[in-house]
């Protein structure tokens, strides 16, 4: 992880750590904080706790997003302090809806400069964000909303498994990970398990990201905690609830970063700081049957 971040994440880069609730790579975010990256443009539908931490740690210059909260719990307070001008590093924002962000990644992945959609009529979002524009349909004459392509410098995705070359399979909620990866100049894949190429080849319809677009494969079990990995471990909802109090208090947040992020060398050390965590969150077995690929 250390090498992959050092090599592919630079000050000033546009960085994406995607994952909708599921498979959010906290381990990569923590390593970026440890390496003291600055002036990043962080993009993500749901900034979640990991971007709140990165904002608090001073990594971010700008946030591009569509929903900035602690899902089911409350606020991301480092984000709010920055935007409300109540302390902490300043933060520029660029805001869309989920559909808008999804479409930006889709355009980036297809290497189209924009994506059309029927959206945003009647909302104040285009007034707040001049990058939401319009195009006229060459067939119907109808006006359609557009968003510009998003092509990050680097996208980090977490997955259940990949082979050594980076052929990557994930299941459960897949969010926009595939599109974000294809939109990106560089891709880091972080996996729970490294598997033989034969495992990938046994079920090719499950592959979401092929090795040809992957720059680095990092094996980091439990790397998504407090987010989760379907079939590996459950979401740590208690930590999400606890974050409300931590992030509300800048000192508590700083202590958290000192203790659990800057104060550990890597994810293994992070796990040692949380005894009992793996036993508490380990997933039950609910295996599906395989299908026949024979001919």
């Amino acid at each position: 992880m250390r090498d992959a971040i050092a090599r592919f994440v630079h000050d000033g880069d546009t960085v994406v750590i995607e994952g909708f609730t599921h498979l959010i790579c906290f381990a990569a975010g923590h390593e970026i904080i440890r390496q003291g990256r600055r002036d990043l443009t962080l993009c993500r539908l749901t900034p979640d706790l990991i971007y709140d931490q990165m904002i608090a740690a001073g990594c971010a210059r700008k946030l591009v997003f569509s929903w900035a909260g602690n899902p089911g719990v409350g606020s991301l307070h480092a984000f709010r302090r920055a935007v409300e001008g109540k302390g902490g590093p300043p933060l520029e924002i660029e805001e869309y809806s989920h559909f808008g962000m999804v479409a930006r990644f889709a355009a980036g992945a297809a290497r189209l400069p924009f994506w059309p959609m029927r959206n945003y009529m009647g909302t104040d979002l285009p007034a707040a964000n001049p990058r939401i524009r319009h195009v006229t349909c060459p067939y119907t004459g109808a006006a359609l909303a557009t968003v510009p392509a998003l092509n990050p410098d680097v996208t980090i995705i977490h997955a259940q498994r990949a082979d050594a070359l980076g052929n990557t399979q994930l299941w459960g909620l897949v969010g926009v990970q595939k599109e974000a990866a294809f939109a990106s100049a560089h891709v880091i894949v972080v996996v729970e398990e490294l598997v033989e190429e034969a495992v990938i080849r046994s079920d090719p319809n499950r592959t979401a990201v092929p090795a040809m677009i992957v720059d680095a494969v990092v094996v980091e079990p439990w790397g998504a905690h407090p987010s989760y990995a379907q079939g590996y471990y459950d979401r740590d909802n208690d930590f999400y609830v606890a974050w409300e109090a931590i992030s509300r208090d800048p000192d508590a947040l700083e202590r958290y970063l000192d203790d659990c992020v800057r104060g550990v060398s890597d994810r293994a050390a992070y796990l040692e700081k949380h005894p009992g965590l793996t036993a508490r969150l380990k997933a039950a077995a609910r295996f599906c049957s395989g299908v026949n690929y024979g001919f």
């Binding site: 989920h98 479409a103 009647g122 459960g172 897949v174």
Partner: protein, 247 residues
């Protein structure tokens, strides 16, 4: 009570785009009672979810295990929502105005907000595309101003222009379910008016929680209290930890 009232709005077999919190509770209550074939879609990509525990977030792993389909979010927004397949959308919000416009973005000016709220998420496009939307919000003058500070999710009239003229496919917020009454959009003006009262509530209590002179249907409906079954399910099965019910 709100969860129970919202649940009644859902017909069996309908396709519902579910948000977290009270809408989720309402949908799962409906599924456990009169609408076992309700198809729950979460913006996270779970379709036909059958959660074995009350999901804490719309990305909960319990929404995936045993669901009918899990798809990427490009498909959620293009193939399901923009395609017009969502029959009912649920929305909540910090502010709901006279025409059902909803604000979940900022209190105060956008560039220098007093309170920064989470933003749209999928709400803007749900408000535009769902065949109809149900809004759930507690009454208070702050929550129901005449005009919202920011239109995140458009209602029946935005900047004076009716939603059909703006080209929105869905019918918009047909009902607003509050803690004292149900408001409905007047078909002619798009304005929210009082449609039905909870047991023991006086219309003046509703007016007190709304920041504009509230009109009324010619004949007001009466809302039945939750059934014993509803209460038992909500308190003991669906939300035993009172994650949402206390709120």
């Amino acid at each position: 009570m709100m969860a129970s009232v919202a649940a009644r709005e859902l017909a069996d077999g309908e396709v519902v785009f579910v948000g977290i919190g009270l809408p989720n509770l309402a949908c799962n209550l409906a599924r456990a009672t009169h609408a076992p074939r309700l198809v729950l879609i979460y913006e996270s990509g779970a379709v036909g979810a059958a959660p074995e525990r009350l999901p804490v977030s719309i990305g909960d792993p319990a929404l995936v295990t045993g669901s009918l389909m899990v798809c990427g979010m490009v498909d959620v927004f293009q193939l399901l929502l923009q395609n017009g397949r969502v029959e009912v959308g649920f929305l909540g919000g910090a502010q709901v105005d006279r025409y059902g416009n909803i604000n979940t973005t900022v209190i105060g000016p956008y560039a220098r907000p007093t309170v920064r709220l989470p933003g749209s998420g999928g709400a803007a496009e749900i408000a535009i595309h769902a065949q109809r939307t149900l809004v759930v919000s507690k009454l208070s003058p702050r929550a129901f101003p005449e005009r919202v500070d920011f239109i995140t999710s458009p209602g029946h009239r935005s900047g004076g222009v009716p939603r059909t003229q703006l080209g929105m496919p869905g019918a918009g917020p047909v009902k607003v379910i509050t803690d004292k009454a149900v408001l409905e959009a007047d078909e002619a003006t798009g304005e929210l008016v009082l449609a039905a009262l909870y047991p023991g509530v006086d219309p003046s209590e509703v007016q007190a929680g709304v920041g504009w002179p509230l009109g009324s249907r010619p004949r007001l409906g009466r809302i039945d209290p939750p059934t014993a079954t509803d209460l038992r399910l909500l308190r003991h099965v669906l939300d035993p930890k009172r994650l949402h019910l206390k709120a």
